[in-house]
Assembly symmetry: C2
Homo-oligomer: 144 residues x 2
Amino acid sequence: MEPRISLITLGVTDLPRAIRFYRDGLGFPTKAKDDADIAFFNTTGTKFGLYPLDKLAEDISPSTPTTRSQFSGITLSHNVRQKEEVAQVLALAESAGGRILKPAQDVFWGGHCGYFVDPDGHHWEVAWNPHFPLAADGSLIIDG
Amino acid sequence: MEPRISLITLGVTDLPRAIRFYRDGLGFPTKAKDDADIAFFNTTGTKFGLYPLDKLAEDISPSTPTTRSQFSGITLSHNVRQKEEVAQVLALAESAGGRILKPAQDVFWGGHCGYFVDPDGHHWEVAWNPHFPLAADGSLIIDG
């Protein structure tokens, strides 16, 4: 098994709303129209998909629950190049219909971060991390 | 905002168990030892992290629940180069302590897929998708 996550798929309760949030609000590139059955986004590195929550659950197995608790136990992070971009991205997410859970702030490990949730309550961290530089294409460089 | 997910972090209830599953079981590269406080994996594309669930929730806000429903509404996909690798990766995940939810099978959109959960119940799809070729480094190529 080669070490990679190829695609992240979020299950959503209102697919057109979710497409508009990511495509129009955050500017993620996709060919998906509002009435798409599924949406794929051409993100750098791991790709990103949106699919109705009930269909995503059914794709796993008929017994997968279609209800989610308030916290999935998963965070998706978007790392930025400059410290001041953290607040800018949080403001963009809010203007697109997201909700800020943690405003941009300095944090104990030396970075500057905040969190928002998308319209379905999926958690995103926005982070400036001086320990993890960004490659030219925006990918994180982790000496892991 | 540039279109990318930099890092995926899974909240886990037993960090050494999770590190062993991904590092020793699946072979994901990391410098993290069993007693690490957090683990980062040098995956191709988006990076991958493990952190205690309660600390991940606290990092978002003190009011974030630390319990998860059975389905987060998020799937992480690992795409393979050859159809027969789907069953091989599922078997590897099972031998490492995961649980197969959907054995390798042909699916309606023309691919060959299965699902497993890791020891914390996070959902992984293993997929061979003839519509999404893999680049030399293993990244998905999506005409999105």
